[in-house]
Symmetry: C2
Subunit: 259 residues, 2 copies
């Protein structure tokens, strides 16, 4: 086990730093599934801390379904590709060593975002209240202005805000709770890699149509407008990223990719 010591960020506490260090080492396939971690006592010594603090880090790994901790038996690394949850997407996209898998995961995340949007706009068109509509109108106006002035930074920021408002308008705990995890990843991704936010000339039309459908309680219209628009976006994204995808696949055959 020749690790480097984790940097302890100013805002983080010690347990969190250790968690992040182990998380990285798992997500970049450094610690392989099935491997047993050293005992809590050894790990605590390695990170120059005590068992209690170290155990907090282990609890976090366990909660994220990255390790299995069993009394008397130790800590075993799980196969995160099978067992993890969405909260690992952000760290994974930052750590992954397989470019092809990374790009594919990224595209899938954008696809999941659209699924969340479809669900939200459908529900919003049934349940939105006047104050929801007002908030949506405000944000749509903002985006229309951002689009005209081509303010990339603002477009991205308000994109996340708009999705959030749509989820709120859906008045669905399920949608809200899915969005909380998914949008945190999405926000981090898109603000790091701004070129991932692409648009189509029909963007203003789409926003206006969506707003109309929601305020007129037309779920089918809202959903179909969303599907149509994001189908275009997907095509752009695919042509944008497919070269990277192929390049990665050649240079790094990676996991379960062998055909």
């Amino acid at each position: 086990m020749g690790h480097s010591m984790p940097e302890r960020n100013k805002n983080d506490n010690l347990a969190l730093s250790i968690y992040e260090d182990l998380l990285k080492r798992i997500l970049c396939d450094d610690l392989k599934p099935g491997t047993r971690l050293p005992s809590e006592r050894e790990l605590a010594a390695h990170y120059q801390t005590n068992r209690n603090t170290l155990r907090e880090a282990l609890r976090k790994l366990e909660h994220a379904h990255l390790v299995s901790v069993r009394h008397g038996q130790g800590v075993t690394i799980l196969d995160f590709r099978k067992t993890a949850t969405v909260e690992c997407l952000g760290p994974f996209l930052m750590q992954a060593r397989n470019p092809s898998e990374q790009i594919r995961t990224l595209l899938d995340l954008l696809m999941a975002r659209v699924q969340l949007l479809e669900m939200s706009v459908a529900l919003a068109a049934q349940r939105a209240k006047p104050e929801d509509i007002e908030q949506l109108e405000r944000l749509v106006e903002l985006q229309l202005h951002n689009f005209e002035t081509d303010d990339r930074e603002a477009l991205i920021h308000d994109d996340v805000e708009l999705i959030n408002a749509l989820v709120d308008a859906a008045h669905s705990l399920t949608a809200r709770w899915i969005a909380n995890t998914l949008l945190e990843v999405y926000r981090g991704l898109i603000s790091r890699t701004q070129s991932l936010w692409v648009s189509d000339p029909s963007f203003p039309d789409y926003l206006r149509c969506l707003l109309r459908c929601i305020s007129e309680n037309d779920p089918e219209g809202a959903v179909s407008a969303t599907r149509t628009y994001y189908a275009k976006i997907d095509r752009v994204l695919l042509t944008l990223l497919s070269p990277l995808l192929e390049a990665g696949r050649k240079s790094n055959p990676g996991h379960s990719e062998a055909v």
Copy 2:
């Protein structure tokens, strides 16, 4: 704070029991957002344990975004309706005191399941490998047989298995990780309340069509078949549950329901 002591399940450790107790008390609106919990020392005394063990429970609440813990400031209850994540869906459906909100959340969960399915079948139709197809064929055969013999128990069990296999066939970390959390809730819900699993006479046709579309790499066909079938299911579910929904709304106006 007059709580009852939590039952310590045989399989659970102490920290988990405390977590579950506090979780319940939050999800049933017993502990209201903004409230400050007693200090770790007091809580530990109340649960007749020590600070370290109690802190493990707090870490779990924090991880689930149900409380905010800040050094020197204490532990504050968050508004779980805004901040929680999908993993709280299961406990919430068991604890919620507002029947209308409960039924609505339940319907939304089933809707989210369909969104997950749409995404998975679309990807599966692009990425499924021979062994995925084989596994799907096996499960489809099983379901066809279960449907003929009207084996409700098996239908429900293999329904979850089939969804799982579709997610696997999608070869998408994003889909897999979303499914891990969502299906855990879904499995628990549907096995507790078996009447929630409804079918349509076209079930066998749908399964066969889906399988054909996936093996012939026809994403659009797979998605549209899924949409069509589950639209029927949704109608049945809605007529099944809407009376409960209305009854709940009348007897318990509940939160943010006032119009």
